[in-house]
């Protein structure tokens, strides 16, 4: 692995709320730590006791399969006591506010809270009210830092470095926290980032983040080392962001004829869950020579283990 940690070994933040708050050094600490867990996760005995006696609460206000299970597994492999709150049965459904929920949980002395919430900034609000570390597992459209970190780790695993790579992020940028976190992180690590989306799904003034914007996908992926696809949410069709799935696929789906414009050895990424035949051709998604989608999931556990370990300390 070519991740160098030159400077301090301590993270600058108490919470992991977003990539925006992290320094390059912070990122290197996390990625370094995560890379150590990759082998462990492939071995027979996966259990450590680094977080023995620590309590981790997963607070998921939005349905999630992979992120929640990934965080749960990560905590358990490190020996923490992991509790996942089922929001549908909880007091929140009865009208309790986020702050009151935070106070209640805080009284139980957790060491770490992992939160996913449909509102941007929910993790920031929670972090102001609890004594333990808060890890953001996705807040509204704002950030999904562990996803960006696992994407970075996946890229480094394959390409040894991020600096100098040309990376296209394609799809529903407007509603995507994954896109925002990735833009911050990839920029920070020295990549050139292209954003590809129909104008209706492009956030205002996104170019001020230091990215190139394209509404023509072929131009956007041209000569890219990595093509990162985003999930298109079906409800976007009903509100006239787009006309139809088939037209979207035609213009913005990753198809064999569009991937040709990228570099020959370009890698395909997707944070999941995928809509096959809408944003990505099903054969491309499964192409073992190009697609690293499964590897993203695998390294996700390692990244979350690293985050839990670092922020629990």
């Amino acid at each position: 692995m070519a991740i160098k940690s030159k400077k301090a070994i301590k993270i600058s933040q108490k919470h992991l709320l977003g990539i925006q708050d992290l320094s390059v050094n912070d990122v290197n600490i996390i990625l370094n730590e995560a890379s150590k867990f990759i082998e462990l996760n492939k071995s027979k005995n996966k259990k450590l006791d680094i977080l023995k006696g620590k309590t981790q609460i997963n607070l998921f206000f939005e349905p999630s399969t992979r992120t929640q299970s990934s965080f749960e597994l990560a905590g358990k492999r490190l020996g923490a006591d992991v509790m996942s709150m089922n929001i549908t049965n909880s007091a929140i459904k009865k009208g309790e506010t986020l702050i009151d929920t935070a106070m209640t949980l805080n009284a139980m002395h957790p060491d770490i809270i992992v939160i996913r919430h449909q509102d941007s900034g929910a993790c920031n609000l929670l972090s102001q009210k609890v004594n333990c570390a808060v890890l953001n597992a996705g807040d509204g459209r704002r950030e999904h830092p562990t996803q960006a970190l696992l994407d970075a780790l996946t890229i480094i695993n394959r390409r040894k470095k991020i600096e100098g790579l040309k990376i296209a992020i394609c799809g529903d940028i407007l509603h995507s926290r994954v896109a925002r976190s990735n833009i911050y992180l990839l920029n920070m690590l020295g990549a050139e980032v292209n954003i590809v989306a129909p104008t209706n799904l492009m956030p205002n003034e996104i170019e001020r983040f230091g990215v190139n914007i394209f509404s023509d996908m072929k131009k956007g992926v041209k000569d890219c080392d990595i093509v990162m696809m985003l999930r298109l949410q079906n409800e976007r069709m009903t509100s006239s962001f787009l006309s139809s799935n088939r037209e979207y696929y035609e213009y913005y789906g990753l198809t064999p004829d569009k991937i040709k414009f990228a570099k020959e050895d370009a890698l395909i990424m997707h944070p999941g869950p995928m809509n096959r035949g809408i944003e990505i051709d099903t054969n491309l998604a499964d192409d073992i020579n190009k697609s690293v989608i499964k590897e993203q999931v695998e390294l996700g556990v390692a990244v979350r283990m690293a985050c839990l370990k670092i922020f629990c300390e």
Binding site: T97, I99, S120, G121, N124, E143, P203, N204, R208, F209
Partner: protein
């Protein structure tokens, strides 16, 4: 009531083009008997007690055209008593209240209740508006004529905009027949749907749904076009962008109307929202620094007629939420004048222009005999030390709700005393 004599004050009364050092005499009935440089120790009987203001300023009592009071329905946010205490501490002696209460002020019987409460509990002059449409639903017009007869000063859906151009056209026709004042909050509901802050870099960064400037422009263009055909008394409640200023500047040469701005939009920009400060979730939203500068310029050249506090008290429970869930609006009546004075201290706007936008201009639009120091008028005025520094502290606010957008801000200029009908109702500690 005993006669009162003040001398050595810097008196600014834009209505009477008065800007001079002099005195003020209040008669036994609380009316203004004398004002200006001719009032000095030489012509005041020596037996009388004279108050030397030593260069402090006297302004007419402020007229705030956009104030939300919680009565009826939201008394826990603000009632008439707490509102008037808060207003007095900010030198405000007349307020125009918004109809977005529960129930909505949209019929004659509720106005009777409002008038009684306002009269019994309030120490300041309350000028209530009623809704333009029943329950502010934007469909059926309220009884402008009958409501005016009960003392309603103007008509607005407050936080809402008449979206339907056909209804707006008819409202203007009726208002023209009945000489009613229409106050529009200019925001297209479709373009601003689910929006929380200005649609720009900050919205993109924070992941919040944006409100584009076009949402405001569309309503301005529409209403000002309709106004060319049905000229009624029309006032735009608040504007927020540089493009709005351009439209208004251009249209003012064609039709008669007036326009306001919130002190928040004159003083703050979208960057102040920082890390999800819900107290800065406002409508219209705070926009860019360029927009703010254009608004200040609009005030200087009088494209903008009035400054309002847009005082919208919200309790902690409605603000200690995620940004999406938090209520819109900020408390501001207490800091309206001191925050406006910032524009004078930093050299952007002349003091007289600011005071005009806070006193005689709103009074003229409302057609009320307030906001001036004319002989024989009710002695509503405030004494202000325009240089006195102080810091806004949440716990020191008088309003029942503490949702100030400028917590811990250093201000220069403090209201020392406020008088209504010649009676001192507020005195600074």
């Amino acid at each position: 009531m005993k006669k009162k004599y003040f001398i050595n004050a810097n008196i600014i009364d834009p209505y009477n083009s008065l800007n001079e050092t002099g005195g003020l005499i209040i008669d036994e009935n609380g009316k203004i008997e004398g004002v200006g440089k001719k009032v000095n120790t030489n012509n005041i009987p020596s037996r009388e007690k004279v108050i030397d203001l030593k260069g402090k300023h006297i302004f007419p009592g402020l007229v705030d055209m956009r104030v939300f009071v919680g009565e009826p329905g939201f008394e826990y946010k603000e009632n008439f008593r707490t509102l008037s205490e808060a207003a007095l501490s900010g030198g405000v002696t007349s307020v125009v209240t918004m109809p977005n209460t529960n129930p909505v002020i949209d019929n004659v019987s509720i106005v009777d209740f409002l008038r009684r409460r306002g009269r019994d509990k309030s120490k300041i002059n309350i000028f209530p508006t009623a809704a333009l449409t029943i329950n502010t639903e934007g469909e059926n017009m309220t009884e402008f004529g009958l409501l005016q007869g009960k003392g309603i000063i103007g008509f607005t859906d407050g936080i809402k905009t008449i979206q339907n151009p056909r209804i707006m056209n008819r409202i203007m026709n009726s208002a023209s027949d009945l000489n009613s004042l229409i106050i529009q909050h200019a925001e297209d509901a479709e373009l601003s749907k689910d929006g929380m802050i200005n649609d720009g870099i900050i919205a993109t960064k924070l992941g919040l749904q944006g409100i584009p400037v076009s949402a405001e422009l569309l309503i301005l263009e529409r209403d000002l076009t309709l106004l060319e055909y049905n000229n009624c008394r029309y006032h735009i409640s608040q504007i927020s962008s540089a493009s709005s200023i351009e439209i208004i500047r251009e249209r003012k040469s064609k039709v008669n109307f007036s326009c306001g701005v919130s002190i928040n939009n004159l003083s703050l920009n979208e960057n102040d929202i920082g890390d999800f400060k819900t107290f800065l979730k406002l409508s219209p939203p705070l926009r860019t620094e360029d927009d703010r500068n254009a608004l200040v310029q609009g005030l200087v050249d009088e494209t903008i007629d009035v400054i309002v506090s847009d005082h919208k008290p919200e309790d902690e429970e409605n603000k200690r939420l995620t940004f999406a869930q938090a209520e819109t609006g900020a408390s501001g009546i207490e800091t309206l004048l001191p925050l406006s004075l910032e524009l004078y201290h930093n050299g952007s706007v002349k003091l007289e222009t600011i005071i005009k936008a806070l006193t005689s201009s709103p009074a003229k639009i409302l057609k009320i005999n307030k906001g001036n120091l004319s002989i024989g008028n009710d002695a509503d005025f405030c004494i202000v030390d325009i240089n006195k520094p102080w810091v806004v502290r949440k716990e020191k606010l008088i309003s029942k709700s503490k949702n100030t957008p400028i917590e811990d801000k250093k201000l220069q200029g403090k209201v020392m005393n406020t008088f209504v009908n010649g009676e001192e109702l507020f005195k600074a500690e």
